[in-house]
Each structure stands twice: as C-alpha cells, then as structure tokens.
C-alpha cells in the first residue's frame, strides 16, 4: 500500500474534486463530505509516508508504470514528506473553517468551491510530490489557476487583485517553463534525478547558467520575494475568508519548496550556491527584502495587509536561509516552510474571524477583541509570538537555525535583518494587542475613545463559531508542538537531505 501512496495522494483529490463539483447537483452537503473524505485520506497518506521516510528512506512511484525518462515519476523523500504533511494537515484543518464562510460569497456555489479547493490542494500536492520538472509546471498552473479563481470570489476589489496576480503569476510560471526548456536542451531529460546526475558536468555551460537564472527568477516571482511581491498584498487581503486559509499559508511556502528542490535535487547545492557565486548577492538581496517587507508591514494598519507583508518577509527568511548555502541555513529554511505554514495559517484564520465579526479591517477601529473573542485572540497572539520568534513557539527554532546559518556563513547583514525584523514584528503585533485586544476601560473621553466605544456598542460581537475556533486552537497547538519537535524533525528528516 505504502508504495502506491505517492500516486494516490495526487489522484484521490483530483478525482474527488470532479466528484465534489458534480455531487452538488444531488445534494448541497455532499461536496463538503467528499472533500472531507478525500483530505482525510491524503492526510493519512502523507503521515504514513512521513513515517516511512524518517531516517532517509525514499519512495518512488512511476505513473502508469512508465519509468523515466519516458514516464513521469513521483518521488517522496524526507523533504517533500514534510512539506506534503504540512499541506494536507492544513487543508484538512481548514476545511471546517471554509465551510463556515462558504455561505458568504459562495452561496449556492458550494460544489464548485469544494471542487476548486480540492483541485488547489491537488496542484500543491503534485508540485511537492513530482520528480518531473515539466509535470511540476503543469501542477503549478493547476494550483495557480484554481488559486486565481478562489481569490477572485472575494470582495469587490478581489477580481482586480486576482487579475494582477494572474498576470504576474503566469509570467513567473512561464519563466520557470523556459528555464526547464534550457535544461532540457542540454540534458535531454525532464526527470530531476537524471538532471542532477548530468548538470554538475555542465556547470560551465552558459545555457545552464541561463536556465538557472530563469528558474530561480520565475519561482521567486511566484513566491513573492520582495520586490517581486506586488501581486500578493492585494490578492491576500481582498480574497474571501473561505479560501484564504489554504492559499495564504501554502502558496508561497510550496514555491520555496520548489526553490529548495531546485537547489538540492536539480542543480545540486554545490552548483547552485558555489559555482554561480550568487550566494553572497542573493543573501544580501534577501536581507534587504526582509527589512523592506517588515517596514511595509509596519506602515499598514489593515490587519490582512499587515499579515500579507509578513508573509513576504517570511519568504525573505526562507529564500535567504537557503541561499546561505550551509547546512544550518538550509535546515532553517526547510523547517521554516512548515513552521511558517502553521503560523500564517493560524494568523490568517484568526484575522478572518476577527474582520468578519467586526466588519472592520483597520486595527485602529477595532477594540476589545480579547473580551469578545477570547479563543480567537489567544490563537492570534500565539501566531504573533511565533512570527516574532518567542520560544517555545516554532518560529523561534527556525529563526535560531537561520541566524546560526547567517553567523556560520559570515552573513551578518542577514542575521541582523532577522533580528531587526523580530523587533519590528514585536512592535507591529504589540501595537495590535494594545489597540485592539483590550477594550477602553479608561475614563478619558477623547474623541477617539468615544468613537471606539460607539463601534463596540453598536454591534453584537461574539466568539467565532466552533468550526473556526477548534481549527484555530489546534493550529495554536501545532505551533507549540512543532517547536518542541524541532530536534526530532531535524534528526530524522533534514539531516538526510544535506
């Protein structure tokens, strides 16, 4: 059974997405049930593969029995087992959250929504599991196209934001496709393992250097590294709550996974980092990206805008960590993929719950979250602390590795940027806590306070529904659990990759 899972983990949600879309004709409740069953299966599959790959085992699966280079093969090693598990767990936990929002903006469209939801997960899963560079492009577009559609269903500004995302995203993916073409010219194969055997011999070829640049540029555009981030804040802050719980935490993280896969499995770390002598430039570039994105986040006052820029900042962490080229930096980048998925998931659902209850995006106009939504605010605080990097949340441990990698490579600007961004994040989040978490109990009747009190009294606000609170609290648990498991993850998985 375990040897069929790499194929099934993609095929099951793919077929389920069709079934979910069709079943809506029969009963409006069926799509949710089908999605739940499919995602339970993929979660089970990913966890059993995670257990299997502990210690460096590898699973290979040839689609329809065609071996590479002719056929497409799927290969699960320690790296993508980790990322796959993160994707499936988040997709599963988020399902009830989506279900509680699906009536806003998707009324009577549950079937297509869950169809898209499953297709989006199919795309991300496929990107992570495949060993074929072109197959990766196709699945990248599958997840992107469904992503555009899911984002475009948000508020009135979302179609325009999604369109921007679509144009930039398509350019990014096309660049990657072009890069793969260049590699194909030289190696005659699309299989990553075969490429990685041939590429070190071709490291002086200008074609390969060009291919490298195109692939990295394309992937980093899709990952929204500053300054290629333009599409992200609009798309993520205007998209519907129903779909942001999977799009925001997963899309950029999977792109970083592709970057790491390019580095580890296609070009090889040696070629990737040393021969092109890009390490120094890219790490400094990422350091500047981190600082710039952090300051942008500081500047904004809309909750989801802030979180969007924080995602962009985290992309800088991970890309920079990987370009450091030492084992600590890579470890940090890989752990941060998982950790960041957990914490942005937590933050985005909490922000969605808050904004949908208060009907207000601007943190200056929100008061008393803690009083009205204690569990949501608890989870939000946990996610915030993880972003700042306070132990024992998981954010601390990935930051630990990244800073250590920065020291080890002598990249003090990068290490400094990480610490600096921690400070600014502390400012950002404690400003939110200070302004929005507590209600105004003081008796100074400044106009601002009066206005805030009006806001409070005008609305009957209560805790988010159970289907949102339970995922939130479990994501908070995940944040702490991942933190405490860092040692195990590194020893059982990441060590075998580097």
């Amino acid at each position: 059974m375990i040897h069929q899972l790499p194929g099934l983990i993609v095929i099951v949600p793919l077929l389920a997405s069709l079934a979910a879309a069709a079943s809506g004709w029969v009963n409006r409740k069926y799509p949710f049930i089908i999605a739940f069953l499919a995602l339970s299966f993929t979660a089970y599959a990913s966890i059993s593969m995670l257990i299997y790959t502990a210690g460096g085992n590898v699973l290979t699966y040839h689609m329809s029995g065609w071996a590479p280079p002719v056929g497409i093969s799927y290969k699960i090693d320690a790296l993508n087992a980790l990322v796959l598990t993160a994707i499936q767990i988040i997709a599963l936990i988020n399902l009830p959250v989506s279900n509680s929002y699906v009536k806003y903006g998707f009324e009577k469209k549950e079937a297509p929504f869950y169809g898209l939801y499953l297709l989006f997960i199919t795309g991300l899963t496929g990107i992570t599991a495949t060993e074929d560079a072109f197959n990766l492009y196709v699945l990248l577009e599958v997840s992107s196209l469904t992503g555009y559609a899911l984002i475009g269903m948000g508020n009135t500004r979302s179609p325009f934001a999604a369109l921007n995302y679509l144009i930039i995203g398509t350019i990014g993916a096309s660049l990657y496709l072009l890069g793969v073409g260049y590699i194909y010219i030289k190696t005659g194969t699309l299989n990553m393992t075969e490429m990685s055997l041939m590429l070190p011999l071709l490291k002086d070829s200008s074609t390969i250097i060009m291919a490298f640049c195109l692939c990295v540029a394309g992937i980093l555009t899709k990952a929204a590294l500053f300054p290629m981030h333009g599409w992200l804040p609009g798309a993520y802050s205007n998209g519907p709550n129903a779909s942001m719980g999977i799009i925001a935490p997963l899309t950029t993280k999977v792109m970083i996974y592709v970057l790491i896969r390019l580095g580890i499995s296609i070009f090889g770390v040696e070629l990737f980092i040393e021969s092109f002598s890009l390490s120094n430039f890219m790490v400094n570039f990422c350091a500047i990206a981190i600082i710039a994105a952090t300051l942008k986040a500081l500047y904004h006052t809309k909750l989801k805008k802030i979180l969007s820029y924080i995602i962009i900042m985290e992309v800088g962490y991970m890309a920079g960590g990987f370009f450091l080229g030492n084992s600590d930096g890579t470890t940090g980048a890989i752990i941060h993929i998982i950790n960041d998925a957990a914490m942005t998931f937590c933050l985005f659902i909490a922000a969605g719950a808050i904004t949908s209850k208060f009907l207000e995006e601007d943190i200056r106009n929100i008061r008393g979250i803690f009083e009205k939504m204690p569990f949501t605010s608890l989870a939000f605080a946990g996610g915030a602390l993880a972003v700042i990097g306070i132990p024992p949340t998981c954010g601390f441990f990935s930051k630990w590795y990244l800073i250590k990698g920065g020291f080890g490579a002598g990249q003090y600007l990068f290490a400094g940027a990480l610490i600096f961004s921690s400070f600014i994040n502390a400012v950002i989040f404690f400003r939110i806590f200070e302004k929005s978490f507590f209600s105004d109990k003081n008796h100074h009747k400044t106009p601002e306070n009066l206005q805030a009190q009006n806001i409070n009294t005008n609305k009957q606000i209560s805790e988010a529904p159970l289907s949102v609170v339970v995922p939130l609290v479990s994501s908070l648990g995940l944040i702490i659990f991942l933190g405490l498991m860092t040692g195990k993850i590194v020893e059982n998985y990441i060590i075998h990759l580097i």
Binding site: G389, I390, P392, W400, I403, K404, L484, G487, K488
Partner: protein, 493 residues
C-alpha cells in the same frame, strides 16, 4: 553529586500553569477563583519543598521533556541554587496571593480574572527558569516570563500604562532577542552545547576579547537584571498594581534576570575561566556604577514605588557584584542576597500598596505622620528598610556581610567602599520616610487612632517582615543551600 531522574520538577513548574484554566473558567465567583490560585501556589510550594531534602543530601533532580534542537534538551535540573530561588519565589507567591486579594478587591480593580491568570502564568515561568537545565531552556522561560507579565504591567489600560508596558517590553525584548539570543547561538555554534556546567563550557574555543563581548551581551541581554543602562523598564513597570510590583518586580522577574546572570557566569563561562582571564572586574565595575547611581536617583524620587524601584535596581547589582567578585564569599553573599532582599523588598512594596489602598497616597511627601494611623504597616516598613540597608537584626545583614567579606577575599577593596557608601545612601533614602511617619510634628491628614488597611493586606506584610528578622537568627536552609552552591563551584574547598 548524583543525578536522579524525577518528574517532580515538571510538576513543580506546571502546578501554577494548570491553575490557569481553573482561574479563567471560574471567573464569575471570586472566592472560587482565588481558591484555584491558592491551591496552585500551595501545591507548587509543597512540591518544591519536598525536593529540598534530596538536594541537601547532595543529589540533583533531572527531567527531560523533549529534544528541541539536536543535542539540546528542553529539560529541568534542580540544583542547590535553583531550589534556593524556587523556594523564595514559591513561598512568596502564597503570601502575595493573599495580599492580592486584599489589594485588588478593596480597590475594586477591573479584569481580576486576567490578573490572577497571568500571575499564575508568571510563576510558572519563574520556577521553570529556576529549574532550567541549560541556557536555552532558561531563555525560553525568560521569554515566557516577559510576555506573561506584559498584561500585568498594562493592567490599567490607560495611556500611561500603555506607554510603560511598551517600554517594559521594548527593553526586555531588545535585550533577549538582540543580545542574548545571538550570544547563545554563537556559543552553541562553537561549543555545540548549552548545558550548564560548573567549569563552564567555553574552555579554549574563544579568545579573551570574544569572551568579554559574549559576557557583556549575555549580562546586558538578560535585561531583567536591571543593570544600567538597561534599567529604566523597572521604574516604568511600577504602573502595575502593587502586588505585581511586589512579587514580580522585586522578586520573581528581576531575580530571574539576576538568576540568569549568575547561571551564565557560573555555568556557561565558569568562575575559574573568568578569574583566570581577570574579566569579572568589568562586570563588577558596571554593577558598582549601577549601585551608586541608582541609589542617588532613588534619593530624588518622591513617588514611593519609584523610589523602591530604584532601590531594587541597586540591590540587584549587589548580587551581580557579589558574583562578579568571583570569590567564594562574594558568590555566597550574592546568592543569599536573592532571598534576603526578596523578603525585605516585598515587605516594602506591600507597605506601599497598603498605604495606597487605605489612603490613596502614592508620594512620600504626602505620607508624613502616617505611622500613627498605620503602625503595623510602618513598623513592617521599618524592618524591611533595615533589611535592605543591611543592618542587624535583619536577614539583609547576613548577605551584605558575606558580600563585604567577598570583597576582601578577592582583594578588591575598592568595592568594599562601594558597598559601604551605598549602604549609607540606602539609609538616607529609607530612614527619613520611617522617621517622618512616626515623629512628624506638624498637623497631618492622618488619624491618631489605629486604622489599618484590610487584614488581607496587613497580615502578609507582617509575615514577611517577621520572616526578615527570623532569617537573621535562623538562615538555616538558605544558608546551607548557598554554601552548597559555592562548594559545587569550588569543589568543596
């Protein structure tokens, strides 16, 4: 020294954290909620106390929860110094809980549930820090403590407390994330370990200049120790309700800072290494500067709690100075001072709170003649000041005496003068308050008959004052533990 595996440290740490859900869920009934606090506090103290015999018989308790980074465990190890600190903090939490009830209910403070919940969480972090087996575990609890005290500092939610809590968190996070964390990563990168060891873990991996930089990063990084110039969060934190100032900003939080510094100097660098390279003197001078400057600033403060805060800054540096002298008596004095100062200073804060509860007065110039109305409070205040100044018959004398011996033993008589000058300054900023309280001749606002603060306020402060005196005659377990700690460093010599 034998290491035994025991789950007791985990329970001791968790006891107060487990009380938090109880406190939150029973927010509607005050008495029921406070019984959770008391249950947590008493059980916690009993577990801590039950570990004392094993420690005194020369054992160390160890419990590991998870391997959080390869080779670094999230683990507890109870040694003589850890149990020493845990005893002080655990015991004073019981007393402070009683005092909190008197204070918070009399003033009809809002959000009491939140207050008690975060108070319990702070104690969870404090004891966790006391029992930490390595620098990373210590750091984790240090950060939890910073964050769990933030809502307590911001309790009043007005503009002033917001600004203060911002400052509070800013200083503490700057220190921990900006200085201590990089230093810790640097050490781990070079040595591959962060476990405390009596001989230090740095041997041979670092040059002298690097060790100086690391030491400064760690000593300032644990900014809760209040060493200048990273001290001004402490006066700012005085906007918190008085029980918070009393337990957290005179005992738990600040002592965790000092505890970290002591652990870093003795467990990470190693006393012998620092003595060999003659580096302790740098810290000693910084601490001396802090002692004298903060005492002078304290003289100028009119708000009682702020004066106490600056006094605390000075007293914390006594402890740092004692350790930095790197002599057995100095270390013993520093360690003892953690307990002695805790009992003395908490009494003083309790008194300040009791005065505020009863009369609403916060300024020293307003409380002349108060001794006639509140004799118990001001009597306790007198004892507390004697202990902090370091005069017999109070516990503070013992620790200060040991510190003085330490300066002589290490041959640094300059610091002897620092200690004496500062003692005079301490007397100068405390005794006039007491004198004016009892012997103020002019007409004052206060009644001539005894009209004290509520029982829940007065009894705790009398208890801590009595214990301050008691400790002078029977330092008992504290003395033993301090001696054991010194012996563990100097190998019984």
């Amino acid at each position: 020294m034998s290491l035994i595996l025991s789950i007791k440290p985990l329970f001791a740490v968790l006891a107060s954290a487990l009380a938090v859900p109880g406190i939150i869920s029973s927010g509607k009934s005050q008495n029921f909620r406070e019984s959770w606090t008391f249950a947590g506090a008493i059980i916690k103290f009993l577990i801590i106390a039950s570990m004392v015999p094993a420690i005194i018989s020369g054992k160390e308790l160890y419990y590991s929860i998870a391997e959080i980074l390869p080779g670094i465990y999230f683990a507890f190890k109870v040694d003589s110094f850890g149990i020493f600190f845990a005893l002080v903090a655990g015991f004073l939490w019981i007393i402070t809980s009683a005092y909190s009830i008197g204070y918070m209910r009399t003033l009809k403070e809002h959000s009491q549930t939140r207050y008690f919940a975060f108070f319990a969480l702070s104690l969870f972090a404090t004891i966790g820090a006391a029992f930490a087996a390595n620098l990373l575990t210590l750091y984790i609890f240090y950060e939890i403590l910073s964050l769990s005290t933030y809502p307590l500092v911001a309790h009043h939610q007005d503009e002033k407390s917001k600004i203060s809590s911002r400052k509070y968190l800013g200083y503490l996070l700057f220190g921990s994330v900006g200085l201590a964390l990089p230093a810790m990563i640097w050490i781990q990168m070079k040595t591959g370990t962060l476990d405390f060891s009596t001989n230090g873990i740095l041997t041979g991996d670092f040059s002298k200049a690097e060790i100086i930089i690391l030491l400064l990063m760690l000593v300032f990084g644990f900014a809760k120790a209040g060493i200048m110039p990273l001290h001004s969060w402490l006066p700012a934190a005085m906007v918190a309700p008085t029980p918070v100032s009393a337990l957290l900003h005179a005992v738990a939080v600040v002592k965790v800072g000092v505890f970290c510094v002591v652990k870093v100097i003795t467990g990470v660098f190693g006393v012998k290494l620092l003595a060999h390279l003659d580096i302790g003197i740098i810290i000693a001078w910084i601490a001396s500067f802090t002692i004298i400057t903060s005492s002078l600033i304290a003289l100028t403060q009119d708000e009682l709690k702020r004066r106490l805060a600056f006094s605390t800054i000075g007293q914390l540096s006594y402890i740092v100075l004692g350790i930095a002298l790197l002599s057995p008596y100095g270390i013993k004095g520093g360690v003892l001072h953690i307990a002695m100062h805790a009992f003395g200073k908490i009494t003083l804060f309790f008194c300040a709170g009791a005065i505020f509860v009863k009369t609403g007065k916060k300024y020293i110039s307003q409380i002349k003649g108060i001794g006639r109305q509140m004799p118990f409070t001001m009597g306790a205040f007198f004892i507390g000041s004697l202990s902090v100044i370091g005069l017999p018959p109070c516990g503070g004398f013992l620790s200060k005496w040991s510190l003085l011996l330490g300066t002589i033993q290490s041959g640094q008589t300059a610091f002897l003068i620092v200690l004496l000058v500062s003692s005079i300054l301490n007397a100068a900023y405390f005794l006039p308050i007491v004198y004016n309280a009892f012997f103020y001749k002019e007409k004052s606002d206060f009644k001539d008959e005894i009209d004290e603060a509520p029982m829940f306020c007065v009894v705790p402060l009398v208890i801590t004052a009595v214990i301050s005196v008691f400790l002078f005659f029977y330092p008992g377990v504290f003395n033993t533990l301090a001696d054991m700690f010194v012996n563990s460093i100097y190998g019984g010599s």
